[in-house]
């Protein structure tokens, strides 16, 4: 992306500076959390994962999905998508880096990252994920190289295939972080892995569309040609429906089991603020409204699709807030059939309230992804040739 005018050059640097400032604020917030301990966050001994994890998992899941466009081009051979493949891969790297930044800076001992890199417990899905995340970086680097270097063009397909397989496994791993938690009512389900894959398809394509529109606008071009836009629009709708389907299956299974009735009642009906976030945030604003925007012929322009993508992303954060924090706020059932009381919140719903530092840290993850994508798009020729110019040449 080469800014064409002085004003767009100024806009580029202003955006880069704003993103960098948010990243700096996030680093400051993380430092504050490290010096004072997690007591300055809303997290506690019952809700052990909070807002940073909502942002981190959003970014990591979206990172995997951002590869959609490249995969459709390289693996499934759809020529129309191919010019957009490099941006798709760059975006994966950016989102993954942002997510991991948040995850690592939220650790109790972030300075011990080298311990995490040298001590592996191979029974832990978390340890596997560390390998999968780093592997994705490496594969994406090779993929980007193969896409951008004409002499390596022949390698784009095999590397693309490897990246496709890798990211499906990776998102299976991310979902299984929760799916493997045998003891928790909210998780402990095999359906969470495919659910996360469906979510990643939707969130990643939404992120890609936003990035493509934003960068094209900055470069003073049309977002993408109309034919491809129509396909992306339909595809995003299908992904949103797929995600809704898996979420529905997960909840319906739980509703069928008597032992899960209390939890489902909490998360879907009584446990404010989670039901409002689930129904209003994820189902209506994050899925139903985007579906109208994506499927109704009256909203066929790229702007409406961008609005739908933004709503899908916000719905994603609402979903993860309910899934991660709501899932922990509901008390663990250790004594079924008993009313329980203790000084350690047994039997009580936890009142988690996020604090400013943890919000700033999470936001910094998005900012980091933004900065990497923006700088990467400036440094590498990831945007397709000007579609308007191409159309004119035809």
């Amino acid at each position: 992306m080469e800014p064409t005018s002085a004003s767009s050059r100024r806009a580029f640097w202003a955006l880069l500076a704003a993103g960098g400032a948010l990243v700096a604020v996030a680093l400051g917030a993380a430092h504050y959390m490290e010096v004072h301990g997690h007591a300055v966050t809303g997290m506690n001994n019952q809700v052990v994962w909070g807002l940073p994890h909502v942002f981190a998992i959003f970014l990591i899941v979206a990172a995997s999905g951002a590869l959609n466009v490249a995969s459709i081009g390289s693996v499934f051979g759809e020529a129309a998508y191919k010019p957009h493949s490099p941006l798709s891969v760059l975006l994966t790297v950016a989102l993954l880096a942002g997510g991991l930044m948040v995850l690592v800076l939220d650790l109790g001992r972030p300075e011990r990252l080298v311990v995490a890199a040298t001590h592996y417990n191979f029974r832990s899905i978390f340890a596997w994920n560390m390998i999968l995340y780093n592997g994705l970086f490496a594969i994406c680097a090779l993929y980007l190289w193969a896409l951008l270097e004409r002499r390596l063009g022949g390698y784009a397909k095999p590397v693309g295939l490897a990246a496709f397989a890798w990211r499906i496994i990776l998102t299976t791993g991310t979902g299984s972080i929760f799916g493997f938690l045998v003891a928790r009512q909210a998780y402990a389900s095999g359906v969470i892995a495919p659910l996360f894959i469906a979510l990643s398809l939707a969130w990643g394509l939404a992120a890609f569309h936003l990035a493509q529109c934003g960068l094209a606008r900055l470069a003073g071009r049309e977002p993408m040609d109309a034919e491809l836009h129509a396909r992306v629009r339909r595809l995003l709708a299908i992904f949103v429906i797929a995600a809704l389907y898996f979420v529905a299956v997960h909840h319906l299974t739980n509703l069928y089991w008597a032992k899960q009735a209390a939890f489902e009642r909490f998360i879907l009906v009584t446990g404010a603020p989670y039901p409002a976030l689930f129904w209003g945030g994820f189902v209506v604003a994050g899925s139903a409204v985007p579906l109208v925007l994506l499927l109704h012929p009256g909203f066929a322009g790229p702007r409406a699709t961008a609005a739908a993508s933004l709503l899908v992303s916000l719905g994603a954060l609402a979903f993860l807030y309910v899934f991660i924090i709501g899932g922990q706020a509901f008390p663990l059932e250790i004594f079924p059939g008993y009313e329980v009381a203790s000084a350690f919140h047994d039997g009580q719903v936890d009142g988690y309230a996020p604090s400013l530092p943890e919000f700033l840290l999470g936001l910094g993850g998005i900012a980091a992804a933004f900065v990497i994508a923006l700088a990467g798009a400036r440094a590498l020729p990831v945007l397709p040739p000007d579609t308007v110019a191409v159309a004119a040449a035809k």
Binding site: N45, W49, V115, H345
Partner: protein, 243 residues
């Protein structure tokens, strides 16, 4: 094989024997010097466990909790971010109204979910069944707290002071009941057990579940005992009676 190689082999062989002969007495002496409690690596022949008789546990009594806090240098406050290695739980049967009081701590599972999920292996089970956190390799990810079915673990949310020499603990790591491992290794008994006995309740029996002659084994054989979340088959070292 040429003769030079053969001579070299002979020499190496003899050298190894000579080195062995020189080291062996030292090894034997070392063994003698260390043949006392806590000098040997713990062995899998032992499986430490506790039996908690809820019929003897008094509602409102906190002797075990206070003793744990004293022994391990815990502040003892109960904000949501404070560590609690052992807690008193009061139960009321929803149908019959029957009330039960009991302490809950790390259940020292034979199949501990916290050990499975720990990315670095900091959460581990000793040969003798005690489940611990190695704070030297804990990165503070809190995945073990997500995995624990018993809410037994706490995260150190603030800088710590006044640690006991035998019980190091610090900000940013996860911790839980150690079964007073520093005392058990020297032939002692966990502090909660001692405090409960001193208060005249005697509701907690500590001992080796693998030793058929131990009091805990006899009691487990004689009475009906339950494990918390037995459906998970984590095979807990802590058993409850009268639940």
């Amino acid at each position: 094989m040429n003769p030079v190689d053969q001579r070299r082999r002979d020499f190496l062989g003899k050298a190894a024997v000579a080195a062995g002969a020189m080291i062996a007495p030292g090894v034997i002496l070392y063994d003698y010097a260390h043949a006392k409690q806590g000098a040997e690596p713990v062995s899998g022949k032992v499986r430490w466990g506790m039996l908690i008789d809820t019929t003897k546990c008094a509602s409102g009594c906190r002797e075990c909790v206070d003793a744990c806090n004293r022994e391990n240098g815990l502040p003892g406050s109960t904000r949501p971010t404070d560590s609690q290695w052992i807690r008193k739980v009061d139960l009321k049967d929803l149908k019959s109204g029957k009330a039960v009081s009991l302490p809950v701590m790390c259940q020292h599972c034979a199949e501990p979910p916290c050990v499975d999920v720990c990315p670095t292996g900091a959460s581990f089970k000793r040969e003798d069944g005690i489940v611990l956190v190695d704070r030297h390799t804990c990165i503070g990810c809190r995945y073990c707290m997500m995995a624990c079915p018993y809410k037994a673990r706490s995260f150190v949310h603030e800088p710590t002071t006044g640690q006991k020499p035998d019980v190091p603990r610090g900000k940013g790591c996860v911790e839980s009941c150690t079964l007073c491992v520093h005392k058990v290794d020297r032939g002692g008994t966990p502090s909660c057990v001692e405090a409960c006995a001193a208060a005249g309740h005697g509701a907690i029996v500590f001992g080796d579940l693998n030793d058929p002659a131990s009091e805990i084994s006899k009691r487990v054989r004689a009475a009906t005992t339950t494990q918390l979340r037995a459906d998970l088959r984590t095979d807990n070292g802590v058993r409850y009676q009268g639940l």
